[in-house]
Amino acid sequence: MSPDERERLHAVWADRPGLLGFLGTVDHKRIAARYIVTVVGLLFLSGMLAIDMRLQLSQPDMRRMGPQQYNEAFALHGSTMLFLISVPVMEAMALWLVPLMLGARNMAFPRLAAFSYWLYLGGVLMLWLPHALGITPDLGWFEYPPLSGPAYSPGHRADIWAQMITFTEVAALAASVNVVATILKMRPPGMTLARMPFFLWAMLVASLMTIFALPAIMLATSMLIADRLVSTQFFAPAAGGDVLLFQHMFWFFGHPEVYIIFVPAVGFVSSIVETFSRRTLFGHVPMVLSILAIGVLAFGLWVHHMFAVGLPRLGNDFYTAASMAIALPAGLQMFCWIATMWSGRPRFATPLLWVIGFIATFVIGGLSGVMTASAPLDLQLTDTYFVVAHLHYVLIGGALFPLFGAFCYWYPKATGRMMSERWGVVAFILIVGGFNLGFFPMHVLGLEGMPRRIYTYGPDMGWGTLNLVATIGSAIAMLGGIVLTGNALISLWRGKPAGADPWGAPTLEWAARSPPPQHNFEEVPVVTSIAPLWRHGDLPVMTGLATDRREVLVTSVIDAVPQYRHHSVGPSLWPFVAALATSGMFVASIFTPWAVVWGAIPIGVALVLWFWPRRPRSATGPLARR
């Protein structure tokens, strides 16, 4: 590519400067970075809430929080952690990485990605702005009717929670559709499905799961809002409704959700293990099959969250067996990772340390999971601190540790700088150590009968010491989180320059510059193996994409045969405006049903303008003459 062409390419893909450029950008890396920065801010806020709760529980009979405040604290903490952090951050990683790993210049639907972020931000504000005004949902992260119904939750707290879900789920659907289309239709020539890196399989499965799981909860929360706003009777047993319907629909989403969080984490772990063991993944095919199996099985387990509501015994038995079955593919993956490390030449840099922390912690979480999956035992353990311990082991150990590993692993790519290894190890030890110190005692507390969601307990219960230990552990973990963030921030200026491929990794994103330019790659790479950068010192490329307009390559689904050059849309304010209009409709519709009618008009206008055809033919062709 001549310097001339290179310059043109730059200019074509560049964002406009200033506020309009900021609001209108469709650069997947900028959008993903916004997601991640928002998530880090929320992790801090929600972590402070957690510390607040832990201080309250550190001793018996503490009075620093009342019952109402405690209810609000765990509801806000749980909802934020799951709906506003765990799920979106995985989508953000996909938005950032997928095009780079495909050697592509942008996502399949660039404006949809922008829309997804703005709507997600709307969801964040939906929950946290009212909190700042003292109106906080107070029923936990799942709000069952009738408790959340009109007669028991007057006011708008429950509506705020339910509508926050609508926001985040629409955003998640937008992001997932985009990821699926990008992975299936924009792979570089030669990257057949058989040569697709495992990470992309994980993101594909997670996105498909999102598409199938989320409509259930949006429906459930919308029905709840309808019950509360226009007095429908979906969840009123006295009029033939059914409260359990809500629980079924919630958990039909809720169980797959934990895999929607976990499956991308499996992708991170596999990438890291591969790179740092310096060999391709042991058992790539079984790994792919097992992740597909997880994707399917995960939809058949939801009732294990409902063992205590009194469903027929046979049903409980079935779901116990199904829950145990999913341990098989998950276990298989563990063995494949261990075999990869065993047979490779592992280098224990921070990303790999996080993987080891993940394996140790997630195995404990998996074991407590097998315990709670057994219906008779669950009747004893449900709603105790055992469950709190279990859910934090799987969510923090199973999703956040791999995420931290991924963060350290791809940080040089994103910023062009290396993070300090020394401080990375310090953060790792503080977080993993503090976490285990903080949460392991909760298993024991649960077995001793301490219920979850209580704001205090009497001295005669004998839970004081373990709770104090738990609080100290959480504080240490929080300190580690601050070290990790500090390291990331300081390394932005102080870090060593990274170069394109500091870890000697095999996948395409490492062929781009660090940080990647807005168009990612100058030419489309051609792939001949599953680990392209290990195969070729100098990557073969395909030329022919335009340099004077935004063009991407569309290829066939299975064999990635080039099909056509697709015009990729440029920056636009309309996704932002459409998200604004949608947010207005969502917010107003917890106050009046008419908002759905009148609110549809601005949304319609925004969408029409968003999709207004700009093809040259529409100005010069037969259509223009009319």
Binding site: G66, L133, H156, P237
Partner: protein, 154 residues
Amino acid sequence: MNARGAIAGLALIPFLLAGCSREARQLASDQPQTAPSGPADPRTARYAANFYQVSQGGRYFTWYGCGDCHGRLARGAANLANGSRHAVEALYTAIAAGQSGAHSDYAARVPAEQIWQMAAYLHDLSRHEPARNRRNALDQQGEPQGNRWQGPLQ
């Protein structure tokens, strides 16, 4: 344009704050033990138009079977449905002592907090949609219904 946006935002704040006091939810601590001291009683503001207190008031209205004489929407005896015409403390007195002696001993039988809540409920009632009232009643069918209670829902 930004300045105008900011002003519009500022103008919204009083409404938002008013919304907040309606949403406030005080539990257990400082329950009133006494009747209102008069129109200036500061507690009135905490009860009137507060979603939680009004909802609790509606609940006790059903539990104590007030609807048996006054009607579920309080349009029966003494037509209370226009409670907003009466001050909260007047409603309190009416519940606690009764007008015609029908419930002259309620002050001794019903805790003060619950009378406060029922007074707030009646004060607010004219603003409730009947459909919503019915919907709440559906959810509350398993709860006590005065003398007519049949036990919890099966």
